[in-house]
């Protein structure tokens, strides 16, 4: 069935080392249109490195990456920027620009799209309405709580109506109630924007709630893959270690 679906992201034999420390050791992953994939792994297992390679923030040592048919490692800067505008990225610490208001933060991705400048106001308001924070439009990031920052960062990620949204640990550092709100928000955004999601997490409850498929990144490889239910039944101690926490 998967063979008929459109491949959005395809990673083959990805290797990345930092000095003697080999973080990715031949990682493979295929994501289809509409998927909601959670990449599960321990802290320091290379999840963030993998997604940074994916969007061209890091160069892999070897291996191939294809995003909607394009290899980000082989594109010119202009082509890479064009590809990046099809990807929304939610950073772990929100990464809102401290010196800008919420409005300016949201307008920032539109800078390189002059054709969209006329819709600037509408898009900002629409994105803020999607995350339920229209009132925060003129606030500075320092005036926002952790959960609000995460929502605004999500609003910024969807400003260009991306086809793929990458979330780096979207619930890390948040209280359980806010985490649940963010989880629901991600589900709603995914439906509203018909986007394919790749979510990095080590939170198994979150993964269970949101994933159509879980890929486990252990020892630098895609160690196991399946639905939360399938993986939970596994007898492999490395996989079981994640589910024991619940």
């Amino acid at each position: 069935m998967e063979a008929q679906k459109e491949i959005v992201i395809e990673i083959k034999d990805l290797y990345k080392s930092f000095g003697q420390n080999r973080v990715l050791n031949g990682f493979n992953m295929t994501i289809y249109k509409g998927d909601s994939i959670v990449l599960l792994g321990k802290s320091g297992s290379g999840k963030s490195v993998m997604i940074k390679c994916l969007v061209g923030l890091m160069q892999p040592d070897s291996g191939s990456i294809k995003i909607m048919g394009d290899d980000p490692t082989k594109l010119s800067q202009k082509e890479l920027n064009l590809l990046r505008s099809k990807i929304g990225f939610l950073f772990q610490g929100s990464a809102l620009y401290d010196s800008m208001t919420v409005r300016e933060n949201l307008e920032f991705p539109l800078r390189i799209h002059p054709e969209l400048l006329a819709q600037k106001e509408t898009r900002v308001k629409q994105a803020l309405e999607s995350v339920g924070l229209l009132d925060a439009i003129d606030l500075m990031p320092s005036e926002l709580s952790g959960g609000m920052k995460r929502r605004i960062a999500l609003a910024r990620a969807i400003m260009l109506r991306p086809k793929i949204i990458i979330y780096d640990e979207p619930t890390t550092g948040l209280d359980p109630i806010t985490s649940k709100e963010i989880t629901l928000l991600i589900q709603r955004i995914q439906k509203e924007y018909d986007a394919t999601s790749l979510i990095i997490s080590h939170d198994i409850d979150f993964a269970k709630a949101i994933a159509s498929r879980i890929i486990m990144l252990i020892d630098g490889i895609n160690y196991a893959s399946g639905t939360a239910l399938e993986l939970e039944k596994s007898t492999d101690p490395k996989i079981k270690a994640f589910f024991k926490q619940t």
């Binding site: 940074k52 990225f89 950073f91 990464a95 920032f108 390189i112």
Partner: protein, 254 residues
């Protein structure tokens, strides 16, 4: 744990700095130009430093004149005071002291700001948004300091002369008109031009080192503190080096 070789570390950092300078000129020449951000940075740097520079300049002129007065009076040479103060301040003391103050205020600020943007992934977010962070953050700041530090130095020099004139007015009963007349008669283009050219290099160094330290910031919040601190130390040393080269070259060509 094996300690890194300090000579090797220094040479690597020097190599990185030259690469950074090369990248600055490459990005400076290529489109798009971030004029709006350049103007914003120039406004912020000028606006936030003007009071500090003014106070420093005023006290500098005041103290310099107060300290020199008894020595000149001993030889009955008080009438040389305006010429001596104006030449000293315009040629050397003004640019160096104001640049050092600007290094403490601006270079550390740039190091801390860009450094915290690095560790909180704001620079990565900028890159993912399709904006070149080097051009947006680094080129604009270096250009802003290169343009604004000379203006701050001119302003500081002017305030220093006012401070000096005030002392002469109070202590020596010299009118402001006479003071400034004497001060400007003593100055020639060979005093003003090299000092002005030097101040552009001071501005460039202040922006360059602050941006370099911030952009290459590592190790979280500790790294931000280190970037800010080492930006001031390294900039101050670089300012003295530039001053030495400038004085040496001026001496050859005048």
């Amino acid at each position: 744990m094996k300690r890194p070789n300090p000579v090797k570390t220094f040479l690597i950092e020097l190599g990185d700095l030259f690469y950074f300078i090369g990248r600055f000129f490459r990005e400076l020449m290529s489109r798009p130009f971030e004029f709006k951000e350049l103007l914003r940075q120039a406004y912020i740097m000028g606006n936030r430093s003007i009071v500090l520079v003014g106070v420093t300049g005023f006290i500098l002129g005041l103290v310099f004149t107060l300290q020199s007065r008894p020595t000149l009076a001993e030889f009955g040479a008080q009438s040389w005071m305006p010429s001596m103060v104006s030449i000293s301040i315009i040629r050397e003391i003004g640019p160096v002291i104001i640049a050092l103050v600007a290094a403490g205020k601006i270079s550390s600020g740039i190091g801390a700001e860009i450094g915290s943007m690095r560790v909180t992934e704001q620079i990565d977010a900028m890159e993912v948004s399709g904006t070149n962070p080097f051009k947006y953050l680094v080129v604009t700041r270096i250009m802003a300091t290169t343009l604004m530090v000379p203006l701050l130095i001119i302003f500081g020099d002017a305030v220093a002369l006012i401070g000096s004139a005030l002392v002469e007015y109070i202590k020596g009963n010299v009118s402001f008109q006479l003071y400034f007349n004497q001060a400007f008669i003593a100055l020639s283009f060979s005093d003003i031009i090299p000092a002005t050219i030097k101040s552009f290099f001071f501005g460039f160094a202040i922006g360059l080192v602050g941006s370099f330290k911030g952009y290459n910031c590592k190790n979280g919040t500790v790294g931000v503190g280190e970037a800010s601190n080492s930006a001031v130390v390294f900039t101050s040393l670089l300012l003295f080096l530039i001053d030495f080269i400038a004085v040496f070259l001026t001496d050859i060509f005048t």
